[in-house]
């Protein structure tokens, strides 16, 4: 497998670098500060997303009739992500990727024709309306109700939270309850919702890093026509679970972030004096950085392995949960140690060191998004206990 692709991957990497050099926004991305903060930045970002689709840096895995590329291979996306991270260029919005795949899988021909081109042109940014204040990790508990009005349309009432990009998205992917209150995962239905539909109100939810990335979304008598239905009535769980599959390879390229954090840590540490001494001259600091490097290499090795086994169909249950734990918790530990170390000393005036320190602080304050969202580390451990280790469930007598 590796021999087959090495050349193709190297070529692809070079092409991605070329596209980035030519078209990516000039301001480097900040971890945890991804949503655009001004109309100018937003315009620039949409322009770049359109380029990404046009150049096959996004959506290359779609069917050819919708703009995908025949020569595409899953590893190309891993390479793309790595290159984007290295260049600190904006990556595609996860929710856009999710919506694309679900529309391709569950959408009617009309839905595909209407939404897919608008995704490729970046006219439509998508957000996800799944989580609720009392149903974060436990989606089957969600309460937002969709009542069928008899004419094929639905009236929606409820509250959503953690709506990433909701404040600048045109479209939302909504999960609402069409079954009884007790129906859990059996009574859910998925909808495609224009965010300017009357009755939708968005309020910002500011992160601990001070960024406006997330929102609360209030749905008050929102009426959706039959064309908004994605998949079948009460078939929403299937749609949501299918979405989880999309993220399978996602973590692949992301581990490149760990190497970047370590590079920043070394850059900052080289300019840092703690208690009057250059800190990299201390064994304990050098060895601690080495320890973190080893952790990052372990995460990287596991993820690389994981991609290989998935490609040959020999992955084990829960491999992606293991990858998520390794990546997100190492990301947290590296950035936490770095901020702590830098805070304990005098960084001096080296602009590279100051920039690296700022990135590390951004990363630390963002790190809990990685260990909490998309299934918290605790939920991942529950899943692994059950699926990977096959441990018995606590009896409920």
């Amino acid at each position: 497998m590796q021999d087959l692709h090495t050349d193709s991957l190297a070529l692809h990497g070079a092409r991605v670098r070329e596209v980035i050099a030519r078209s990516a926004p000039k301001d480097p991305v900040r971890e945890g500060h991804r949503a655009p903060s001004t109309p100018e930045v937003e315009a620039e970002l949409r322009r770049w997303y359109a380029v990404m689709f046009a150049e096959g840096l996004s959506g290359a895995d779609w069917p050819e009739e919708w703009g995908g590329r025949q020569a595409h291979h899953a590893l190309h996306d891993v390479v793309t992500t790595e290159e984007l991270i290295r260049a600190r260029a904006p990556r595609m919005v996860d929710q856009v990727v999710l919506a694309s795949h679900l529309i391709l899988q569950f959408g009617t021909p009309e839905q595909k024709a209407r939404y897919l081109p608008r995704i490729r042109s970046a006219e439509d940014i998508w957000c996800q309306l799944f989580s609720e204040p009392n149903a974060g990790s436990d989606l089957a508990a969600l309460k937002t109700r969709a009542v069928a009005l008899g004419d094929g349309s639905f009236r929606i009432n409820g509250q959503k939270t953690w709506t990433t990009d909701g404040h600048w998205a045109q479209m939302g992917l909504l999960l609402a309850r069409t079954g009884t209150e007790e129906s859990r995962h059996r009574g859910l239905t998925a909808f495609l919702v224009p965010m300017d539909t009357p009755g939708i109100e968005i309020r910002p939810l500011i992160t601990i890093g001070g960024a406006h990335e997330f929102n609360e979304t209030f749905l008050d008598d929102v009426v959706l026509g039959p064309e908004a239905l994605l998949g079948s009535i009460d078939g929403g769980w299937q749609v949501a679970m299918s979405g989880l599959e999309v993220e399978r390879f996602g973590v692949g390229g992301n581990v490149a972030l760990l190497a970047q954090l370590l590079d920043d840590l070394v850059v900052a540490a080289r300019s840092l004096r703690v208690d009057g001494v250059w800190v990299v001259e201390h064994d304990d600091v050098r060895l601690r950085i080495a320890e973190l490097t080893a952790e990052a290499e372990a995460a990287h090795a596991f993820v690389a392995d994981c991609i290989e086994t998935i490609l040959v169909g020999r992955d084990q249950p829960g491999d992606t949960a293991v990858a998520k734990i390794l990546h997100s918790e190492t990301y947290n530990r590296i950035s936490r140690y770095a901020v702590h170390l830098i805070g304990s000393g005098e960084l001096g005036d080296n602009p590279d060191a100051i920039a690296a320190a700022q990135r590390l602080e951004d990363a630390w304050l963002w790190s809990r998004a990685l260990t909490i969202s998309g299934g918290s580390s605790e939920v991942m451990r529950n899943i692994l206990a059950k699926r990977r280790l096959g441990l018995p469930q606590a009896p409920r007598p």
Binding site: S131, N134, G136, S137, D138, A141, T161, W162, L205, I206, T207, I208, G210, V274, D275, G276, H282, D284, V285, N332, R336, V339, H340, G343, S344, G345, L347, I354, A357, E361, L365, R368, A369, T371, I372, S373, S376, S377, E378, R381
Partner: protein, 328 residues
């Protein structure tokens, strides 16, 4: 020495007072600024344990007040005969102090004036009086913000959100020096007051997280009923209790002029500084999404503990001191 019951009363009184946004003036009215200063110059006497108990509550409340800086500065200023009269303004809260740990030798120029940059000064507003204490030598210097050659500016980098961090740039400033005397005890007290503040922040974070998870339901049960979560909350509590005991034990030794006090204070700082940050970071994880929002107070406590960890010497410096005092 304050007994178990009196300590409880002091803590709960302080907690109540800190409930509202307590400023330096109120703290002075409550007598907190005088807890390290001799009675002859208007202080309450030598009460480091009481000061530490109140500092824990300040940390718990995330209080902006910098009364601890005034308490340390008043004691230093009050012990210098030519400045003693100026202690009053620090004790009554009319003047704000900033205290930093700064290697003094490199700052003292040939003419005996002071030039260079101070360490970080933590205060609720720009300080009027600066006290720089050397980390190794028992020496301190006192400067006034309106002295010639003293320029103070706010340090806006860094995580702090409940207080402010300042630096002073000194240019041939004249300073009053204090060598020996009470410098060593007050340096130890200053370390302990920060460690105590951190322990208070941890206590608040752990309680806040525990209370939140007691009510919050997931998968049909309160999150705090899940055993894996319970064990982590217990571990956080055990850390908080041990850190609290260690800081108080060091303060008690300091109050009794026990020669082991500097070693215990170094142990207290070593034990708390990195662990506290990890503990509060873990609280954010346990609290889930809500802990990740700006409105929920956990991140302010995280920022506070993170700042405290290093504003008066690094944890590794304290560990090094602990090793040296242990003779290895």
């Amino acid at each position: 020495m304050i007994d178990v019951e009196d300590a409880e009363i002091l803590r709960s009184t302080a907690r109540e007072a800190l409930g509202s946004d307590l400023t330096l003036g109120h703290a002075a009215d409550l007598g907190w600024t005088g807890l390290l200063t001799e009675e002859t110059v208007g202080g309450a006497g030598w009460y480091p344990l009481e000061a530490v108990l109140v500092a824990m509550e300040s940390g718990r409340a995330g209080s902006p007040s910098s009364w601890t800086a005034n308490a340390v500065a008043a004691a230093i200023v009050g012990s210098i005969p030519e400045l003693a009269a100026q202690a009053a303004g620090l004790l009554d809260g009319s003047r704000h102090a900033g205290v930093s740990l700064t290697h003094l030798a490199p700052l003292i120029d040939a003419r005996g004036t002071i030039s260079g940059r101070t360490g970080k000064l933590l205060a609720e507003r720009e300080p009027d009086v600066l006290v720089l204490i050397d980390p190794d030598v028992d020496q301190a210097i006192v400067l006034r913000s309106d002295d010639a050659g003293v320029e103070i500016h706010e340090d806006v980098a860094g995580l702090e959100s409940t207080r402010r961090v300042y630096r002073a740039e000194l240019d041939a400033a004249s300073a009053v020096k204090l060598a020996g005397g009470r410098v060593a005890e007050l340096r130890t007290a200053a370390v302990l007051l920060l460690a105590a503040d951190t322990v208070g922040a941890v206590a608040a974070a752990v309680e806040m997280t525990t209370d939140y998870l007691r009510d919050r339901v997931a998968y049909g049960a309160p999150i705090a009923s899940f055993q894996a979560i319970q064990h982590r909350l217990v571990d956080l509590t055990v850390f908080e209790l041990a850190a609290d005991a260690l800081v108080r034990n060091a303060a008690r030794a300091l109050a009794e002029d026990d020669p082991d006090a500097p070693r215990l204070a170094a142990a207290a700082h070593t034990y708390t500084e990195a662990r506290a940050v990890v503990a509060i970071d873990d609280c954010i994880q346990l609290a889930g999404g809500i802990g990740f929002t700006w409105e929920f107070p956990l991140h302010h406590l995280l920022r506070r503990a993170s700042t405290n960890a290093a504003v008066f010497g690094s944890g590794r410096a304290s560990a090094d001191r602990l090793a040296k005092l242990g003779g290895w």
